[in-house]
């Protein structure tokens, strides 16, 4: 499925096997988005959290 980048409006391809919570990067502007929900006809994205000081292992 495809959706639009919330930052620049570019088309973003959403792979079928993508899970809620995975991060998508806009190929045009490089903005990161979290897949918030998906149904057969609708994809919802939200801006991804920025990397925190306590991120990682």
């Amino acid at each position: 499925m495809k959706t639009q980048c919330q930052e620049c409006g570019a088309e973003i391809n959403v792979p079928d096997d993508m899970m809620i919570g995975e991060i998508l990067t806009c190929p045009d502007c490089g903005g990161d988005f979290e897949l918030a929900s998906k149904s057969e006809d609708k994809i919802e994205l939200k801006p991804a959290e920025t990397v925190g000081e306590d991120w990682g292992q």
Binding site: I20, G21, E22, G52, W55
Partner: protein, 286 residues
């Protein structure tokens, strides 16, 4: 049937692998965004529709840690336990815990002011490694090779907002090959061991910094030290990191609470995610 819950705040390769593996094993599996959970001090286990066992996989250390405290308060079995996360998330506490259990570990000094940190460095001599006591992916880890740089880095640490940046963790620089070892421990077994090589012009070996990986043999010595380190911090699903000192052999320098295993999966034939799910099942039944 046992129900497994994976808690995340960002779905990475690891969380996806765990979810897929649990599904393949025919388990009732839920994956829940930690950012959507709220709990209060009267919350009961029945308030949250979570499962029998929770795999806490948050990328944010503190989010995962304090959520674990809340879930344990409610009576859930969480992997790893709060106490384990608290120890592993703090290099100072980890160093003390390893030393107390006689696990070989690099010599490390702790100082509680800029002046005493400089004094320690001047006494031990260069090079030394200054690390933040909390933090990950090698951020803020500085090799200090001369007095000028040491003074500048400590001045920088003094200027930071966090009070933790003024707790100084100063470690001997180990004479090692340009690699370290990462062992993924699940319960009382090493499921994968890899070498992590630093890239050109990078001294740190973290895979997140582009470090390359290669399968490492699990020798008796490695197994003994790694499992002792895992036990010392409280056990569970862990990433034990070691360096190979020229004279002393293997030294454990870190134990990771929410271990990343993408790099290891690329070179190991072990079913890492499968072993983690099986371990979660055994913990749920205890």
């Amino acid at each position: 049937m046992v129900k497994v819950c994976i808690i995340y705040d960002k779905v990475r390769f690891e969380e996806k692998s765990l979810y897929d593996k649990a599904k393949k094993k025919g388990l009732v599996t839920e994956i829940i965004d930690a950012k959507t959970i709220t709990i209060n001090n009267t919350s009961k286990r029945t308030t949250l529709q979570l499962c029998d066992v929770v795999l806490q996989r948050c990328i944010s250390h503190f989010r995962g840690l304090y959520l674990t405290a809340c879930l344990e308060f409610m009576g859930f079995v969480v992997i790893n336990k709060f106490k384990v996360g608290e120890t592993c998330g703090n290099k100072l506490i980890t160093s003390l815990t390893l030393a107390k259990s006689n696990v070989p570990t690099p010599k490390t000094h702790f100082a509680f002011s800029a002046e005493s940190a400089i004094e320690v460095i001047n006494t031990t001599g260069f090079p030394v490694v200054l690390k933040p006591i909390t933090g990950s992916w090698g951020r803020g880890v500085f090799p200090l090779r001369n007095e000028e740089v040491a003074n500048m880095v400590i001045e920088m640490r003094e200027d930071k907002d966090s009070p933790l940046s003024r707790i100084y963790y100063i470690q001997e620089m180990i004479k090692r090959p340009p690699r370290d070892l990462r062992c993924i421990v699940v319960g009382d077994k090493i499921v994968a061991a890899i070498y992590r090589y630093s890239t050109e012009n990078e001294w740190r070996t973290n895979v997140s910094r582009g470090g390359k990986v290669e399968l490492a043999p699990v020798t008796n010595e490695l197994e003994d030290i790694v499992l002792r380190a895992a036990k010392a911090v409280g056990g569970g699903i862990l990433g034990v990191d070691l360096m190979e000192d020229e004279k002393r052999g293997l030294l454990v320098h870190e134990v990771n609470n929410t271990v990343e295993f993408r790099g290891a999966s690329n070179v190991s034939e072990s079913d890492i995610a499968g072993a983690m799910i099986d371990y979660a099942l055994t913990m749920a039944k205890k």
